[in-house]
Assembly symmetry: C2
Homo-oligomer: 152 residues x 2
Amino acid sequence: VETVSEALAVLRRHGLRASSARRLVLEALVAADGPVSAERIAAGLDGDVPASDLASVYRNLEAFEQLGLVRHVHLGHGPGLYALADRTGREYLACERCDRVRIVDAAELDEVRDVVRARFGFEARFTHFPIVGLCPDCAERVAGPETGGHRE
Amino acid sequence: VETVSEALAVLRRHGLRASSARRLVLEALVAADGPVSAERIAAGLDGDVPASDLASVYRNLEAFEQLGLVRHVHLGHGPGLYALADRTGREYLACERCDRVRIVDAAELDEVRDVVRARFGFEARFTHFPIVGLCPDCAERVAGPETGGHRE
DNA sequence: TTTTTTGCAAAACCTTTGCAGTTGG
DNA sequence: CCAACTGCAAAGGTTTTGCAAAAAA
């Protein structure tokens, strides 16, 4: 499901209505170049699409997630970021020092998942909450200069 | 740093004052049997220690983290949970379906860290944000019955 | 005494909810 | 027509901030 009309078809198939508010949210998700906050969707992606009501955006994102059309990820302490589920084969590694995010294909983390599964019987997913730690740059900076200095 | 007086010594060494509000927060952290929310600390751990002001608790926890005395972890969508840093050799695996949390020694995740480091040069830490996924029970329940049903 | 810290109140931030009115089917 | 949905406003949960009063050094 990569287009607005495909998504609307899914809605109808589930007995939900294809309202204009929903169209707007879907248009924003299609237009977005990455995961976006509900606030930015409501703001019409800063003018790229018409603005809409924030509460409705949240309600509709929730509905879309229930249908499997949309997913959200929590990167750091900020708001949740939403994207079309079909664009979410990706998983995330977030640096807690510089807040940069590395996006990788899910397959690249299979080995990690395998280790976690083997050790703990636990099925790790890094789609909703990322792997958090230090990116290569920050890891070096922390290991090298001095061991002092504390992060948030 | 495992006791209140050790912690207070660290404060003084850094030019911070050993106020009674700070003592209270430290007492709560020492008395706690695991990571606790700021709210529970302010509530005096439900009567185990004297209650105090929530805003000050947050301010002081923040100060303690800056000094490396305290750390917090985000398990799921609830409030952050705080613990003495010295008790934080543990790391977390959180089930996003049933919200149970498996606590493991950091060493048990070294293999996972190694794989992540080898592949991405990324230094993963599961102390601040846990590994999130499905615990063995929930993984089975999802794989078995039907593949349908969508999570939050 | 003077600088830090407190306690309270208020706000900020993200998200959810209640409800009267509107709309899609 | 009628259930589903919207927009607005208000509240909920967590954390931060402003400020005058209090307490540490």
